[in-house]
């Protein structure tokens, strides 16, 4: 037992070392995720609905003041269009009343329109409810069980079903770990604001907390809202404006910018002619607009001359350059949300937006640490994660299924042991030959050495193919695995056994001579037993080599048995923690097998090794 202490201590140190290593390797990856704007959550900013629905009969300014407050800024709109200042019509278009269906679920019992708002009656006033949910940083793929939702901590919804903690998943901080991996393509959300849509067909909403036990909930199709102004000065000369938020998603076509009731177009017009490096004149759809060549604004008069829809460049644009014309405005700097209008808005006019889509925040989380824990693959996982994965890993497939880890381990063990027996038999046979016929050793030993230096990764597919032609595959027999393993393990056995057979004390040989013993007697009574400790050394080395060979053979075949196959599978598609578990299993297997050889040695050959 005292011998075990240093080993245990070393293991403990190594395990503890994995924590800082995991951070060392993982934090830069997390930081990269945070900085990649394409991995951010997208948010569609629309008009702001009335926080409290104004009473009927109020004038527009009164309605705005009572609902939004007197400091409100923005253009009053309903149904996307600006309201005239003298409007007094109803400020809301009710759709229907919701009925409770459970603790946190309410239903309208009719399909919901694409655009709607929900309100709750609080002491006579109808208060607006915020809708909001967050998808996971990485989508379900049928294998993944751990998800993070950018910091959202509300209820978990899967394909329109409210999931219960403990029943379907476990929470660890902000991360959700499922007991069963959600299938590929399923819709997974976590409520962030006050509610989210469970099922648009039946009009069912799921709320963040069990709420509103005695309240009335209603859905509106349309309500008085405020559309934000575009940032920038409207003074008749300025053409530079910006969206209220940066990181505008360029490719989004639902963007809407209005100037005094006219929807502006950000359509990027392409020229009729190809930019082939020789053409100088181009024709566009519109007869005016901003001309942008390869992202740079072109100045009329200096860079080009305009003749209606036709323009002519002073110098020929390079071949395949990107040439566009924007009739109304151009998103000149999406990252800053900056736009450039073709014509400066006249003083007194209003420029506003009713919708724009932008990158809100990193999907993985608010801090680097959150994103670290959200990483899909940790190059070095935390040891306790590996420990947690061990249980589900073993239980994933039943014992009958050949993908079960215990069965795979058993298969690999049998393959390794067969390989060792085969290789040891060959090795001992060769060793005996070498001792009896020295010239044979000089001839064959170089070939034996050469055989070990040829990379088996190249030989194994060939071997498996040849055997496959005879109908012998890994699926049906141990032979392929055993052969590959034996190939690697016979060499240490040959070398050590040869040495052992020759490692007899000269005095003992004299002794045998004094007994007039025959050569056979000397071999049988002296050489062979003397070689046994050496043989076992060779067997221990050979066992390790046989295990490696067996794993390689299993990896390179496409039959599903054995640990090697599982390792390959996890490396390609599974989680890093699972790969670590398999590696640990392989290592433990190696230790156990070599230990078994030692045990056999202790029983069969208990005498002390000569110093």
């Amino acid at each position: 037992m005292r011998n075990a202490l240093p080993v245990v201590l070393t293991l403990v140190v190594l395990v503890l070392l994995m924590y800082p290593l995991a951070l060392l390797f993982g934090i830069p990856l997390a930081r990269r995720d945070m900085e990649d704007s394409r991995k951010w959550l997208r948010e569609a900013a629309t008009v702001q609905p009335a926080p409290v629905i104004p009473a009927d009969g109020l004038s527009l300014p009164e309605a705005i003041a009572s609902s939004f407050g007197t400091e409100a800024a923005g253009v009053p709109v309903m149904d996307g269009t600006a309201l005239a200042p003298d409007e007094t019509a109803g400020w809301v278009d009710w759709l229907g009343e919701m009925l409770p269906e459970g603790d946190s679920v309410w239903t309208l019992a009719q399909p919901l329109p694409d655009s709607f708002e929900a309100y709750v009656n609080e002491g006579g006033d109808w208060r607006h409810l915020e809708r909001g949910s967050v998808p996971p940083a990485l989508p379900p793929d049928g294998n993944r069980v751990r998800f993070t939702f950018g910091g959202a901590e509300g209820p978990v919804l899967l394909d329109g079903v409210f999931l219960r903690e403990g029943e379907h998943f476990e929470l660890e901080g902000a991360a959700v770990t499922f007991l069963e991996p959600p299938p590929f393509g399923s819709q997974l959300l976590r409520i962030e604001a006050e509610y989210e849509v469970l099922d648009a067909e039946t009009g069912t909403l799921a709320f963040n907390e069990p709420t509103f036990p005695d309240r009335e909930l209603r859905v509106v199709a349309d309500v008085l809202s405020l559309a934000p102004f575009m940032q920038g000065e409207v003074n008749g000369t300025s053409r530079e404006f910006a969206f209220p938020a940066p990181l505008i998603i360029e490719a989004d076509r639902t963007r809407q910018v209005w100037l005094d009731g006219r929807l502006l177009s950000d359509n990027a017009e392409r020229p009729a002619e190809r930019v082939d490096g020789t053409v100088r004149a181009f024709t566009f759809e519109s007869d005016r607009g901003l001309v942008v060549l390869d992202g740079t604004l072109q100045e009329e008069g200096r860079d080009y001359a305009r003749n209606g829809p036709e323009i002519e460049f002073s110098s020929v644009p390079a071949r395949n350059a990107q040439l566009r014309q924007y009739r109304d405005y151009w998103l000149s700097d999406p990252a800053a949300g900056a736009v450039l209008l073709a014509e400066p808005p006249a003083e007194g006019s209003r420029l506003w937006t009713t919708r724009y889509v932008y990158y809100l925040r990193p999907a993985c989380g608010a801090t680097v640490l959150e994103c670290f824990f959200a990483l899909p693959q940790h190059p070095v996982p935390f040891p306790h994660w590996i420990a947690e994965r061990i249980g589900p890993f073993f239980e994933r497939y039943p014992l009958g299924d050949e993908r079960n880890v215990m069965r795979a381990t058993l298969y690999t063990t049998m393959g390794t042991v067969s390989a060792l027996l085969l290789g040891a038999a060959l090795g001992v046979f060769l060793a005996v030959l070498f001792v009896i016929f020295r010239p044979l050793e000089r001839t064959l030993l170089p070939w034996a050495i050469a055989s070990q230096t040829v990379p088996i990764i190249a030989l194994v597919p060939v071997l498996l193919l040849v055997l496959g032609n005879f109908g012998i595959t890994i699926q049906t027999s141990l032979l392929p695995t055993a052969l590959v393993g034996a190939y690697l393990c016979f060499f240490p056995v040959v070398v050590s056994t040869t040495k052992g057979l020759r490692a007899v004390e000269p005095l003992v040989l004299d002794l045998m001579r004094s007994y007039a013993a025959s050569k056979l007697e000397v071999f049988w009574r002296v050489r062979l037993p003397a070689a046994t400790p050496f043989l076992f050394t060779g067997l221990k080395l050979g066992m390790a080599a046989a295990l490696v060979g067996a794993l390689v053979a299993e990896t390179e075949s496409n039959n599903r048995r054995g640990l090697g196959y599982q390792i390959l599978g996890q490396v390609q598609s599974g989680s890093v923690a699972d790969v670590w578990i398999l590696l640990i299993i392989s290592a433990v297997l190696g230790i156990v097998l070599v230990g078994a050889v030692s045990l056999v040695q202790r029983i069969l050959a208990p005498w002390e090794r000569r110093a």
Binding site: L507, R513, S514, Y515, R525, P529, E608
Partner: protein
């Protein structure tokens, strides 16, 4: 006797003439390189003479070896570490095809003789150096050879153990009546054990003098302290010195 090897020749032994009678205890004594071990190995047919004749009980050394007429005890015990003490003593008996009951009987007898009957099942590494040599002696006597050849068997032991082992050897000799040719470089050991001492000198190896030892048997610790013992030891020492 000429050893050739690697382009040089060593004359190990020259003009060695010696007659040994049955039942005698002969010691070969001399410094390193005097050829005493070579002489012993010649007798045992572990090496062949380049010239000269050797006769053992009227036979050639080769024939004597094939007939298993002698037992050899080496400088080191040369026990087989994978065999127990008992089975080590059984080794020559197995090779010489003795019957199972006979083997067991002889081995047990000899282990009793050397005082190791309680250690039958132990393995060599569990025994001290002296005990291992005793096993080696028991093994050499197992098949009852008429001649016992011993090459500095107690050389690796300390003086106190050596004197004890000398006593034991004399006891065994008196009980078994063997002829013993004993190689040593200890003057006291040679005088204590032998009936005749053959003094050998090196370069080239040859027999310098043969000294008869007239101390009476059985000898014991008192013998070592006697006047005659001292005189004989001095005689041996002086003849060793003469040759240098």
């Amino acid at each position: 006797m000429v050893f050739s090897g690697r382009g040089s020749e060593t004359v190990a032994l020259r003009d060695a003439n010696l007659t040994v009678d049955s039942g005698e205890f002969i010691s070969l004594i001399g410094p390193s390189g005097c050829g005493k071990t070579t002489l012993l190995r010649l007798i045992a047919d572990l090496v062949a003479p380049t010239s000269g004749e050797l006769e053992i009980m009227g036979k050639t050394p080769r024939q004597s070896r094939l007939d298993r007429d002698y037992g050899y005890v080496f400088q080191a015990p040369a026990l087989l570490e994978w065999r127990s003490v008992m089975r080590n003593v059984l080794l020559p008996l197995e090779i010489m095809r003795f019957g199972k009951a006979e083997r067991e009987k002889r081995a047990t007898q000899l282990l009793d003789l050397v005082g190791l009957e309680d250690f039958k099942r132990q393995y060599p590494w569990q025994l001290s150096g002296g005990m291992q040599q005793r096993v080696s002696i028991a093994r050499a006597l197992a098949f009852d050879p008429k001649l016992l050849l011993m090459d500095e068997p107690f050389g690796a032991l300390d003086e106190i153990t050596r004197e004890t082992m000398n006593q034991e050897l004399l006891r065994i000799w008196s009980q078994t009546q063997k002829t013993i040719v004993f190689v040593t470089h200890s003057i006291a050991e040679a005088v204590f054990l032998s009936s005749r001492i053959v003094v050998m000198t090196p370069r080239p190896g040859k027999i310098e003098k043969v000294i008869p030892v007239d101390l009476p048997y059985p000898r014991d610790a008192e013998t070592r302290e006697s006047q005659r013992f001292f005189e004989l030891a001095t005689e041996v020492r002086e003849s060793l010195r003469e040759a240098h």
